[in-house]
């Protein structure tokens, strides 16, 4: 009896899967996609047969999953255990590739027709992967199942839309805050930073916290796009990319002011130089107690807590003309060529849904994109009040992306670094970065 009911449920599911595949093709069937459509139809025809077989003897399958963060290993493993309860025949293999090589490796594998079934994706690389048709369009699935995307902040959901279609389900957010070292603050008798701080408070206090004899710095003007440069540009009232995504905003006076602020802090000796940061990463400098403050992401919290323990504190970023930063977040996407589309989709829903988000939160990995799990995350490191990360979300703008984001980001890093190094003036650096970025944007 129970067996029979199970079988029926699975057959229904298989039928649904077939319908979905067809629906997917119908909705994106453009003029050039006849080939893709044919493949989709073939798959659809196979699906019921394959599913029937599955139900007969629960054909085992393996989901290949890829992430770039070693810290996620256990969490994703635990999330899989939850998924496995409904899919006892499932097995899974997780690959962790350092972020520096992650996208190159993925792209190579996907273009080669292989690669993981589902994997994590970030904003700067998303549009390129989607435009190369390497990702599965999730829109039909989202619509069919009436998935509630309002469970996630709108900005992050939008980040993973390509031509109006959802391709990724949000996983975590990169909220940026100002980490500080309580021991260094106490020693210098400076009050801890809070939401009233502005650029000028930061500058004044950083000077008090700098101790040249100990080679400790008050602040690290981090030469890092996401945590250092973009927030300052936003706070100065500028933007990295125009709203229509066609023009760089780096040469605007606001952006120049932001970069100038970084340069001044470096020149005043309250921040390690761009050179030092090239040799030793800001997080490493701060984590080893060499600096009192560093802007960093919610993704850094557990690492820094591991290095500094109870000495670690976090506050909202100081405000310039306005407060906040450009919010980024990652998502789960599915390999368009995966042979386990339906299974991958089921797992993505678990990962990005409540169960996955709760594990992400409990293990203190990062700010879950799934809103209901945020409260859980805030308690994950008892000695650290992560409210700062939540509060500052009120003042954010979307993360700057276009099709070839990774390419122009490199140009920005190069020019700004050269500016901070003093090899060119800050206005020159901003102008060059903007013109190189505009060249790349023009080709898109």
């Amino acid at each position: 009896m129970t067996m029979n009911r199970k079988w029926q449920a699975k057959a229904a599911l298989a039928g649904l899967a077939a319908a979905l595949t067809l629906a997917g093709c119908a909705s994106n069937g453009g003029a050039n996609q006849s080939e893709e459509k044919a493949v989709g139809e073939a798959k659809a025809n196979d699906a019921p047969a394959a599913a029937a077989e599955t139900s007969a003897k629960a054909e085992p399958f393996t989901l290949q999953v890829a992430v770039w963060d070693e810290k996620l290993k256990e969490t994703v493993q635990q999330t899989f255990e939850i998924y496995k309860k409904d899919h006892p025949e499932a097995d899974f293999k997780l690959t962790v590739t350092p972020v520096k090589e992650y996208y190159t490796k993925l792209q190579t594998a996907l273009i080669g027709g292989s690669g993981p079934d589902l994997f994590m994706m970030n904003g700067p690389n998303f549009n390129k992967f989607a435009s190369l048709k390497l990702l599965t369009d999730l829109q039909p699935l989202v619509e069919q199942e009436q998935l509630d995307t309002s469970a996630y902040p709108e900005g992050i959901t939008k980040l993973y839309q390509y031509e109006g279609h959802q391709y990724g389900l949000p996983y975590y957010l990169g909220s940026i805050g100002l980490f500080y070292n309580k021991a260094l603050f106490d020693a210098a008798k400076v009050p801890y930073p809070d939401e009233t701080w502005t650029w000028e408070t930061l500058r004044a206090n950083a000077a008090k916290l700098t101790d040249k004899s100990q080679s400790t710095y008050g602040y690290i003007a981090a030469n890092d796009n996401q945590s250092g440069v973009y927030p300052l540009i936003h706070q100065a009232g500028g933007s990295v990319i125009s709203a229509d995504g066609k023009k760089s905003g780096l040469d605007a006076p606001e952006s120049v002011a932001a970069l100038q602020f970084m340069k001044e802090l470096i020149d005043e000796g309250v921040s390690p130089s761009a050179q030092q940061q090239l040799e030793t990463a800001p997080i490493q400098l701060f984590g080893s107690g060499k600096a009192a403050m560093v802007p960093g992401g919610s993704y850094d919290a557990s690492t820094l807590y591991g290095m500094l323990g109870d000495k670690l504190g976090v506050a909202p970023l100081p405000a310039g003309k306005q407060a906040g930063f450009l919010v980024h977040g990652s998502s789960w996407v599915i390999n368009a060529k995966s042979e386990h589309q339906q299974e991958a989709w089921e797992f993505v829903k678990v990962l990005s849904g409540a169960p996955g988000a709760e594990l992400l939160a409990k293990n203190a990995i990062n700010f879950p994109a799934y809103k209901d799990a945020v409260a859980l995350w805030m308690q994950s490191i008892p000695s650290l009040d992560m409210n700062a990360f939540v509060k500052s979300l009120e003042h954010t703008a979307p993360y700057p992306v276009s099709k070839n984001t990774a390419e122009w980001q490199n140009a920005i890093i190069e020019e700004i670094t050269n500016g901070l190094l003093g090899k060119q003036s800050i206005p020159d650096a901003a102008a060059k970065a903007a013109s190189r970025m505009n060249d790349i944007l023009a080709k898109e």
């Binding site: 590739t97 027709g113 490493q284 060499k290 290095m307």
Partner: protein, 272 residues
């Protein structure tokens, strides 16, 4: 030579040797420090407390044994392949007459001139078409033979008196028999030299595995060492521990087979 002159030579050579060895010494010492101590300015020389646990940590945090196994596997397969295929071809070039021999030999010399990078992209595309990307095939098959190996062994075979082969032929021995029973046994030093080159190149190869593999399961030591920079970007002692373990096998092998290493390398210098 006067005593003073000898002493002077020793001083110069020892200073040079120190410059050669210091980076390795620093690697070992750093690998045994705590993270905090490695971030001390000015740096300490001797670890305040010896962190042998760093080595265990590399195994805990990465699949180091797997990388080691992959590297060993591709090294063994490539070496075996080259020894067999190169010696066979070299035997034909050194002892046999056949139409097209000169043309083929010229082809061989031209392959030897090709820098590896020029074939990198098409080889990648070919491997992709074969669906070999991220498999052991991609790591090994393209390296099963080399023009250099054939050339090296041909030189060896040429130095073996031809009469030996002729005598065997008169006795009715077949070509494979002459190859296996006359030439191979006499060329042990040559085969060993070639193995050493192949082992060195295969163990340390970076660009090929970088391009041909993408998953963690296929990662080689060389790739792992490079990617540790990202993985442990906060922990130099761990990176050094990993690097230490990655380079040690070849250093040990070199120490054990020094004579053959040096002979093999010196031999390439003779071929011009």
């Amino acid at each position: 030579m006067t005593r003073l002159y000898r002493l002077l030579l020793h001083i110069v050579l020892a200073a040079g040797a120190l410059l050669m060895a210091l980076p390795f010494l620093w690697m070992v010492l750093t690998s045994l420090k705590t993270f905090a101590e490695s971030m001390q300015a000015p740096p300490t020389l001797i670890p305040a407390s010896w962190q042998f646990g760093n080595y265990a940590k590399v195994f805990e945090e990465t699949d180091f044994l797997r990388y080691f196994g992959n590297t060993l596997l591709l090294t063994v397969v490539k070496t075996a392949g080259q020894l067999l295929f190169c010696s066979m071809a070299a035997f034909a070039f050194a002892t046999m007459r056949f139409p097209g021999k000169n043309a083929l030999f010229l082809l061989l010399l031209s392959v030897m001139m090709l820098p590896h990078q020029i074939s990198l992209i098409p080889t990648f595309l070919l491997v992709k078409e074969l669906h070999w990307l991220d498999t052991y095939y991609a790591l090994t098959v393209p390296g099963l033979a080399s023009a250099f190996g054939i050339f090296l062994l041909r030189q060896f075979f040429l130095s073996i008196p031809a009469e030996l082969g002729e005598a065997a032929r008169v006795d009715g021995a077949s070509f494979p028999r002459i190859y296996a029973r006359v030439y191979l046994p006499l060329s042990a030093p040559g085969l060993l030299s070639l193995s050493i080159f192949v082992v060195m190149a295969a163990w340390n190869d970076f660009l090929n595995p970088l391009v041909m593999t993408s998953s963690d399961e296929m990662r080689t030591l060389s790739l792992a060492v490079a990617s540790f920079v990202g993985e442990f970007s906060t922990d130099y002692p761990l990176m050094m521990a990993a690097a230490c373990m990655a380079v040690l096998p070849l250093i040990v092998l070199f120490a054990a087979l020094q004579r053959y290493f040096i002979q093999g390398i010196a031999l390439t210098g003779m071929k011009s």
